[in-house]
Amino acid sequence: MEKDIRESIEWAKINGDVLKSLESPRPLFWVILVIALSMFGVGLGCEIYQYQIGMGVANLNNPQVWGLYIATFIFWIGMSHSGTLLSAILHLMHADWRKPIYRFAEAMTTFSLMTAGLFVMVHLGRLWQFYYAIPYPSERWVWPNFQSPLLWDAMAIFTYLSSSVIFLFIGMIPDLAICRDHLHPGWRKSLYTVLSLGWEGTDRQWRNFRMTYLTVACFLIPLAVSVHSIVASDFAMSQQPGWHVTSFPPYFVAGALYSGCAAIITLFVILRYVFKFEEYMTLPILKKIVRLTFAIAMVWTYLNAVEFASVWYSHDEASKAVLIQKATGIYAPFWWMMNFCGSVVPFVMMIKRLQTNIPVMFAVSLLLNLGMWLERWMIVSPTFSHGYYPYLWDNNQWPTLVQWGIVFGSFGWFTLLFMGFCKLFPSVSMYEVKEMVYHRSLALKHTERNLAVNATELAEKGAH
């Protein structure tokens, strides 16, 4: 049986391997950075065009008032649940195999949230007045509307983002101290000196650290659940057919975890290859995350089926009509692809041989995320095209290149942020890996000693 991590890794080696990833990047890094920058540029250009001319260039209309912006917004929020799942939930479950991989997952959470925040702005007709949605004591004596799920979104996401940043930062402090101590003088060393807040690794500091970390983790878990439930209530609280479904909050949370885990697999493969983290992001860990993803895929599939069944067996004719439209109407190819990617493709992950097959798992993870993006789009658009009012049923309204451009650009933005993070901060948690190695080696010694004792006993017995 392969081990999650080799127990005999020296701590110095851990430091060395991870700190190596912070060195000057190879040419490939710059190539990908330029690509990401141009993707972002495309998105930025489209947004500037849309800002100048008006939302009409996105080919939105009455009734299709929301399009890819909302769909992608939810997609990015969903992606953000990966980090919380890994760092917080698995932390509380004492699943220490998360330790080598949770750092980049947590970073992914933070940057996904930042990307999602962009979409909130892009989607607004008058984005220069977005601050009306912020609850500050304005001179107009007007507060935002606290009854509105969109406002809950704003609050929840902001809270989640700030908490995630705090969690990420706090978790990094011991590592930042390592960076500070091992790197040559320069702007980086000063940065780490400031950020590591004078960490010396004393007992007291470690005790405080553990307590803080645990507290924030406990705080973050309900927050994650509530954030995506609130995003779900954008739809569930409306009475439009296809949206007014009570199972939406857990369905969205499940979808978010699903998205996040799939993205973890994707980034796992990439970072493992790029930074040569084979020792840390080991295949057994990959196997575990793959199996976790599969489990969540089945939860999502179940909740998906619950949504369909509850509509199908209801007397809500309008919602039934929307469901039938999704399966047979203009969006049918996308809807079926979503179901395929979301419910059928995961079964590849049950094939033991393939669970550690890197290329296959990479492809699968991308397909899963495609399915999840399509799912968000299929929640938004079909309801508009086939709502309560037949005169407004609209079979021919598709997003323009402006919408696609901005969606495309968001991936560039995310990549930019993530690449910046990986080069500036350790993407594997050094101190946690050391803990993992330490505990594993202790356990191994225990086992070896027990085995030796048993062998001796057996030998003694046998000698008689």
Binding site: A318, A321, Y389, P390, Y391, W393
Partner: protein, 736 residues
Amino acid sequence: MIENSFNRRDFLKVLGWGGTAVALSGCGNTSIQDGVETVVSYVEPPEYAIPGISVYFNSTCAQCDAGCNITGRLREGRVLKLEGNPNSVINHGKLCGLGQAGVQAHYNPDRVREPLLRNGDKGEVIAWDKALGLINEKLSGVKGDEIAFLTGGLSGHVKVLLNNYLEALGSKNHYAYEAVSPSVVRAANKKAYGVEMPRLRLDKAKVVVSFGADFLGAWVSPVNFSQQYAKFRKADENGRGVLVQIESKMTLTGANADRWIVIRPGTEGILALGIVNALGASGVSLPADVAAVSKAYSSERVSKDTGVPAEQIEKLAALLKERSPSLVITGSAAEGYAHGSQNAAAIALLNRVLGNIGKTIEAPANVPFPQVAVTTGNRSSVQALNDSLANGKIKVLFSYGTNPVFTAPTALKFKENLGKVPFKIAFAHYLDETSREADLVLPLDSALEDWGTSVPEYLGEASQLSIQQPLMEKLHPNTKGLGDILLALLKQRREKEYKDYEDFYSYLRSAVVKNKSALGGSGEDDDTFWTNTLSNGIVPFSASSNNLSAKSSAAGLVLPPPADENSGYPLHLIPSVTASLRDGRHANQPWLQESPDPLTTIVWDSWVELHPKTAAKLGIVEGDIVEVTSRSGSVKAQAYLFPGIHPDAVSIPLGNGHVALGRWAKDVGVNAFGILDQVVDKETGELALNETRVKISKTGKRVFIVKDEGAVGGSQAGVKIAVRVSTDDVELSGEV
């Protein structure tokens, strides 16, 4: 609230553009976006001009021949919106969409602003005095019968001046041309009832059977009829009125019918005689001549000829017999054939047989001043003019208010013949297809800037003189009112007679005030009378009306059998007149282009309506660009599947297809007028609008039709949106 205590002229002068000490926000050189305005306070504001408070003035709508009376709302010296004048016996305070768009005709950026003289292909700006001098010059040495004046329907004091001017020129050539007038119906009415347009009492009728008269949409006086229709529908002591519409292509009125009967094109007269026959068979006593004529029209024979089921004919006859009085109206559908007059005569027999004359068909109110009464326009006048033009007889042609280069059938070659006239003068608001051909274009004040009077074409409960007065000062300094131009031209010929009149306004004032005793102002002094007249906007004529009686005999009424199937051109083209566009003069008013056609919801384009069965046979789906070819020409337009049309007919709306007129009209849609065959009604010589036969072919192109309705078209998809209930299931009495 009409202020009486001021002099209207002074008001306009003060608020006028000449004055520098004027506070006007939002006029001329403002930009809404960056809020750049020039605001200067009043030095001496008139007492009634309170910024922020609206002032209302009455005038007359000029968007169609109904001539409804309007009240304009003004703020800071500019007219914003038009409403109906509540005191009008025509429209009683209501105004249709076309009337609302009158402000767009006024503020239209494509209006002609300067007199233009042709130089090659272009028009060069010329000063007014030079222009008028040029006219005088071109008229010298020209005989009276070589001068012609082409107008639309005309009434009021402008008509008086026009007639005087023609007289001064020694010309009798006044051609009044209206492309979509009910001229055959008028002639038939004259024969049947003694008047061209009797007063139709929809409000008194229990049943209205309309043979294609779109009285709610674009026929004669839609706002007036709509209000009567509202009363007709109310369940009063007469019960709720029943509307039956018989036509080959559904009009707006047809869409509101309790029973819409589709009929083979041209067979309306046959059906009318069939109903007469059925009435006779059910015991209604028929006069001898009527019985003789209708004997051969049994329900079976009529059903075969018209396509209307025999039971339907009998049911209709039973309804008409039971519910009296009824009202039978002949409309454009019936009259638009070579035998249109016969159709109309047959339909008029129904009124006679049912005893409606004198009950729901009454005499219109008299107009005691025939010189201001309406000269109606018709289509045969343009044919006569065309003949004169073709012979080169006309040396000077004046035109006003009509666009024959656009509306005349191409077969007439009107544009070509127009080119034979050495000097053409157009009084125009826009450079439309006809005024573009002129040698001299004289820019007119818009209807909201001009003085005038008019008498409505359709006279209902009373006759009146409608006042048209400027609702604001001129937008463009160099336009002139038609009356002012005519007066100036008259002064060239008859200086002495008109020298006392400084302008048309003073002529008008004196002409009206002169007759104040006949106009109900005998107790008042001139100024008060005139001020009250302007304030009311309406001068009622106290005139009685005569009694009507059935005039003509049915003897000699012969209806031709239904038209043969013409294999080369198998389909009947029924061009439709929409309420918004009519003959196309309003195509440059964007509200009207953006206003969806009520029956198809299509906007900003033309279309070819065909029945789904016909489309299926030809393999045409919605959006296919089809070519509709007649013997006289062809047009290409998008096909629209429309259930409210006879399977052997197609329909294209009239009014679009301009190549000039303005930015919102140019290149929008196709011109169906052009492909009409030059076939005329035998009795009146009027162009028979529905006699054109066409064939249809696909071009291979397909577009998405731009329309308001969604993907499921006219279906409610099982959702309870617009609910209909049968009279059996509803309790209407006691409704408030």
